[in-house]
């Protein structure tokens, strides 16, 4: 039995706000193939946070944001410097910069712990259960401080991205064109890095940097599998992040008790749910999902083997020495240049499917074309021989090599292409070997 309190509501609200803010920025990081820059910056802001704590001896949001913005830009610059002078790949130079900054930050945090109550663990996991303790008044409403900060961050991100939507889009998809149109792609890069740093700082106190990184990268990656347009992309990212916040918290308090444990960290659980949502999209995305692509591939394979079988039957029907214009199962594999040599299972599947479609009839061990099958089979054969004509006349391909090329292309030839080929060879009624084009 789940006991839902106002604390739970605030945790979900904070997680959803953090998630939406991160997902908006992160979507651009994913599109620009700089996701790990988000990871690097969210590690690297740690010394900035620590210095702000030590200098102000408080958690004043303003100072921390300024520190974060500076650190974000510095990190991006440092990565660039190390990459250029060290001739290192981007990943390695990021790895050097963010680990060293994070290490310095950890040491500084230990020093800062004397002034304010903070521990390295807080940075990773956040201190979400402390959220309702500090309350501020914003526009007449009493809000927990952490939630108010996240709300402001989300509004800032939303405003910047709306205001610079056109510029960001261009700089993301075509930096070269953007530059010629007078949009500074480099400035856009550093702007994104700054937003990333700001969002990280706003969110870490509440949800921890683990969740920040997950919320930066995973929603965008999930949306990448689901849509190809930028605006839906952003919407899907935000929806995924908000869903993960809600489901993640429910899972955190709901699932461990099944196994006899108490509840667990909400941010860890939200990150896990994000992973599961990504997995779902990975498997079941309508166009790019593994399942959809598997089915697509299987469909293509099936259509190829059935067309191959039809083609063989159409050729058998032309053979004057073949009394019943049919083929036995063994014949399919034995005729010259059969695509079914040593592929009996594929042939079995193809014949089964053709019989189900009523394109092939079987009597005894012999398979013959039905009237419906004959039309389709002639289309395949026609495409094949037209292609042979094409390669022979226009492509100067040797006689011996014609068959393989035509065999491949016949499966991808629709009515339009067939007609275009037929028009090209209007005067010719035979293929290069003198066989009639049906």
């Amino acid at each position: 039995m789940i006991l839902w309190t106002s604390l739970d509501t605030w945790i979900v609200v904070a997680g959803a706000l953090a998630g939406a803010a991160c997902a908006l920025v992160g979507a651009f990081l994913v599109l620009r193939k700089t996701s790990m820059m988000g990871d690097a910056i969210s590690h690297a802001v740690l010394p900035g946070i620590a210095i702000a704590f030590i200098m102000t001896a408080s958690r004043a949001a303003g100072v921390m944001f300024i520190g974060a913005a500076i650190v974000g830009v510095i990190t991006a610059l440092l990565v660039e410097v190390v990459r250029r002078y060290g001739k290192l790949e981007h990943g390695a130079s990021m790895g050097v910069v963010f680990t060293v900054l994070f290490a310095v930050g950890l040491i500084l945090i230990e020093r800062a712990a004397r002034h304010v109550d903070i521990h390295p663990e807080h940075v990773l996991y956040g201190a979400v259960e402390l959220v309702p303790l500090h309350v501020v008044t914003l526009a007449g409403f009493e809000l927990p401080r952490g939630v108010a900060v996240l709300l402001v961050t989300l509004i800032v991100n939303l405003t910047v991205i709306t205001a610079l939507f056109k510029e960001l889009r261009l700089a993301t998809f075509d930096p070269g064109l953007a530059t010629t149109l007078g949009i500074n792609a480099t400035a856009m890069h550093y702007l994104l890095m700054t937003l990333t740093a700001l969002t990280t700082v706003a969110a870490f106190e509440v949800v921890g940097s683990i969740l920040v990184i997950a919320m930066l990268i995973v929603p965008g990656a999930t949306a990448h599998l689901l849509t190809r347009r930028l605006l839906p992309f952003l919407v899907v990212s935000v929806v995924v992040a908000v869903m993960a916040a809600f489901l993640g918290h429910i899972a955190a308090i709901g699932i461990p008790p099944w196994f006899g444990f108490e509840d667990t960290s909400s941010s860890g659980s939200m990150a896990t749910v994000l992973g599961l949502l990504f997995l779902l999209a990975f498997l079941a995305a309508p166009e790019q999902g593994v399942i959809a692509r598997g089915l697509n591939l299987a469909g293509l394979r099936l259509s190829i083997v059935t067309q191959d079988a039809l083609g063989l039957l159409a050729r058998a029907a032309e053979d004057p020495q073949n009394p019943d214009a049919g083929l036995s199962f063994a014949d399919f594999c034995l005729v010259s240049r059969s695509p079914f040599t040593a592929r009996a299972p594929a042939l079995t599947v193809a014949l089964l499917l053709l019989r189900l479609r009523g394109q092939v009839s079987a009597s005894g061990n012999r398979y013959r074309l039905t009237a419906r099958g004959r039309a389709e089979a002639l289309r395949v054969l026609r495409a094949h021989r037209l292609w042979e004509r094409f390669f022979y006349d226009d492509g100067q391909v040797e006689l011996d090599e014609l068959h393989a090329a035509a065999d491949l292309l016949e499966h991808y030839t629709d009515a339009g292409l067939r007609n275009a080929l037929a028009e090209r060879f209007a005067g010719q009624s035979t293929d290069p070997r003198g066989r009639r084009i049906p």
């Binding site: 994913v30 193939k33 700089t34 996701s35 790990m36 988000g38 990871d39 410097v81 190390v82 002078y85 060290g86 001739k87 290192l88 790949e89 990943g91 390695a92 790895g95 050097v96 680990t99 060293v100 994070f102 290490a103 310095v104 950890l106 040491i107 230990e110 390295p120 663990e121 990773l124 996991y125 921890g208 683990i210 969740l211 990184i213 997950a214 930066l216 990268i217 995973v218 965008g220 990656a221 990448h224 599998l225 955190a252 444990f261 108490e262 509840d263 667990t264 960290s265 941010s267 860890g268 659980s269 939200m270 990150a271 896990t272 994000l274 992973g275 990504f278 990975f282 593994v290 692509r293």
Partner: protein, 444 residues
Amino acid sequence: MITQLLRVLSLADYNTRVVMFGTVTLGIAGGVAGVFLLLRRRALLVDAVSHASLPGVAAAFLLAVTLGGSGRSLPVLMLGALVSGLLGMGCVIIISRFTRLSQDAALGIVLSVFFGFGAALLGIIQKMRGAQAAGLDGFIFGKTASMIRSEALLIGIAALVVIVLTAVLFKELRLFTFDPDFAAGDGWPVQRLDLLLMTLVVAVTILGLQAVGIILIIAILIVPPAAARFWTDNLLVMVLLSALIGALGAYFGTGISAIAPRLPAGAVIVTVLGAAFLFSLLFGSSRGVVRAALWSRAVNRNTLRQNLLRALFEYEESGVRHGMQEQLQYLQSVRGWTVRELRRAIRMLARSGMIYHVSGQPWRFSETGSGAAMRVTRNHRLWEVYLLEHADVAPSQVDQGADFIEHVLGETLVAELEAALPRFGKALPTSVHSLSNADHGGGG
């Protein structure tokens, strides 16, 4: 404080010796294996592997406790770490293979989701009744103080294996690292070498988890080689240097963290390594920033000086005589210099005694200056003629082409030019521009 540090660094205590042995050999192993990791451009893959090991550690702990064990047996935890780390690596490969997401995004997804799941499991463990979960925190930020003899020995053995394998397979690894396609074409077992390399790297990662921590272990593998890269272009030297930096970083890092037990050991080691990296970035003898800056300053000065020498030489060659003001205006317009640049160039030449003037009169060459100017001009014109005759560059373009290259022509190259254009002998070719575009103003 200082005496304490000296006591630690001189390895006076048994415990210190054990911990030092463990971390320093880890530093060496990381430094050696990291070189190849870095050069193979796989640095961040290890970050994903180490982050992905957290749920394995937590799950192994949970499993051990459920089965009635203590859950703190290190081999069990490390086995868990290894399994889930490899699982994470598999996920990275699958995601980047089967989706249109970049590997970058795949790394980010795996490391954040696995780490988040690990954190959720840790959250459960922390609230378990009677479970001693204290040891697990060390996996995240690193804890060297608790290292015992058997662990240090384990790391030592692994380091030995890494070193021996690298030494034995050095030639193979070098070829494979720099040109895997050629190595494959030449019949080397590239995939097995790749597998071996990744095994070594993952082994170092998992063994180092407890000492340095999940988040920072990647630094042990990439900061030392990245620092070594600033000093050398030779792979063997780089490996040795990287091992040395790794060992020193671990030695001083462990020493400092021993006297300041509140500081996470991993963070201290990585900070020391970071300092070594910063030093190398600035002062590295091969690619260091300072050296690069000095070199580019020297090239700039040399270019400026040679340009003025040639401009003045061609001014004198033209036979026109003006007062000083007209001469300066001419020089400025020929090279497109600002007043400041021209002044700087003149100051440089005057200081080295190549040119002189009586106040108010135009600048003249001294004897050394005239010789130097002749050489510079000759190099420029030889190169121009070479470009015209052998590279089919249009006459209007050769000046620019020669301008880039003339400053870096060495003696051997000049000798080759002379051999390629024997008709000039040791004489000064006339400018190729004097007839083709007489109104050019004398640029060639």
